[in-house]
Amino acid sequence: MVKSIEVKNLTHVYSAGTPFETTALSDISFSVEKGEFVGIIGHTGSGKSTLIQHFNGLKKPTSGTVMIEGEDVWANPRDVKKFRFRAGMVFQYPEYQLFEETVFLDIAFGPKNMGLKQSEIEERVLEAVEFVGLSPDILEKSPFDLSGGQKRRAAIAGVIAMRPGILILDEPTAGLDPRGRDDILLHISEYHKKMNATVLLVTHSMEDIAKTVNRITVLSRGKILTDGTPKEVFSEPELLKSAGLSVPQVTRVFLRLRELGAPVDTTVYTVEQAVKQLSALRGGKV
């Protein structure tokens, strides 16, 4: 089967040939299968944002190739635009990109740029609004009259309305309250399941990632440090520490319990698993 994303020996250098030259990505090879839900984590400046901007052709590799759904993004530089629709990207704080008079028009911006018919656009906007959990009666409101959380959702809907086969989100939960976070992640998971889409979630929050993804890629200083299931990645707390990251809080609690001599499994990374473990310790009673 064709891979959703396939990156080979990707290197990206900023301001090449000037005193400000910095290598953001060095010789990265990485691939994502169709339908995977991948978390990309890394410290600030590890190259996460640079990496994901290669997937929709916003950045051009200094060397190496990026294949999206089996096609080389830069094979024909004039055609790069079509990859913007295949790999839909939600930037950090996407609410700052809202500009139209009504929420409807703003969400329709992407589909309109795809050159779709009006009826199709309308259908997609309604679908996208439902995916992000907004009620359709806000469609006629101005996006600037919405609350912070609603703005964030409307902006994400603007990308989902393009029905991208690959959805990339850069810190979609930054600055939201806990309920808002859980809610947005839930809706993203729904899009992942219903559309059988490939989803890439870039985040700092170990808790977010532990709950949702089925694979984690850790970036550090422009290279891939480790890659595997959450269980595998979180079983190496020292390695994560070396990249300026850490395991989820629950895992830390369990690591400490083990240190203190309790017979617990330390591959716990969500609260649900923790509850199960602890109740098993107490003999099945919660």
Binding site: R84, F91, Y96, F99, F109, G110, N113
Partner: protein, 266 residues
């Protein structure tokens, strides 16, 4: 494209030029402009060039950086040159229907181009070597006497400080928004002029909204720290003139006098 804007940029350093009092540098820039505009004949221009070269070499600003500042103005420079070549009356060298090139035209065009280049590189040296805060401090102090006739000097200089401070921030913000809209298929690079202008509204509207938001936040932050204008306000760093400042000032005065006089003598 956006990274090419060097206007108002400051490149930190610790050379003599960087350390000079901003007031001296402002007066020096003013004298330099006076010298340049009153210059007549090759000797005067030569003196200005020598002045610029001396200051540039002391300041250690890279020559490539100086030339980069000229790039956005290339069109104006060429336009001026062409206009002067064709529209100056005098001894005709070459004629083609209604176009005639004169000896005086070529000479004037040459001097105009030299003048513009010297003017831009010379004055950009001021912002390259002076931090925006020092610069506005210097302007405020120089304009202080105007307070007597009720000119809001402090307010004006604070506005300038804030404006300069936010140039890089807004450039960064523009790039972010452009990328976000490109990700939704916005196209800024193709189409006719009108389409391109229309294509900018998805960038400009969010940019204005965020500029107002920032202004609002900044105002609140300033009020929280009890900012209430210039009256009775003291400085962390008091500017005071050193011996180097006086020497530099004297040096600039001599050069200006020479440049003006040379036109009269030669």
């Amino acid at each position: 494209m956006l990274q090419d804007i060097t206007l108002g940029q400051y490149f930190p350093g610790s050379t003599l030029i960087h350390r000079l009092d901003p007031r001296v540098k402002l007066v020096a820039a003013f004298l330099y402009i006076v010298a340049l505009f009153s210059a007549q004949g090759p000797v005067a221009y030569g003196l200005c060039l020598l002045w610029l070269v001396l200051v540039t070499s002391v300041s250690k600003v890279h020559i490539r950086l100086m030339l980069k500042g000229l790039k956005p103005l290339l069109f104006i420079i060429i336009f001026t040159a062409v206009l002067n070549v064709f529209y100056t009356p005098g001894r005709i060298i070459y004629e083609f229907y209604f176009l005639h090139i004169t000896y005086e035209g070529i000479a004037l065009a040459f001097y105009m181009v030299v003048r513009i280049i010297l003017l831009i590189t010379g004055t950009s040296l001021l912002t390259y070597t002076t931090s925006p805060i020092m610069l506005t401090d210097g302007i405020e102090l120089l304009l202080n006497p105007l307070k007597k006739i009720k000119v809001p000097v402090h307010e004006l200089s604070m506005m300038m400080t804030i404006a300069l401070r936010f140039i890089p921030t807004l450039i960064e913000e523009t790039e972010k928004i452009m990328n976000a809209q490109k990700a939704r298929g916005a196209d800024f690079e193709s189409g006719r002029l009108i389409r391109r202008i229309k294509a900018l509204s998805p960038v400009l509207i969010p940019l204005f909204v965020s500029a107002f938001r920032r202004a609002d936040e900044l105002a609140v932050a300033m009020e929280c720290r009890l900012y209430r204008g210039g009256e009775g306000r003291t400085r962390l760093k008091e500017l005071s003139l050193t011996r180097a400042d006086y020497y530099s000032l004297a040096f600039c005065l001599v050069f200006t006098a020479l440049a003006i006089l040379s036109g009269k003598i030669f």
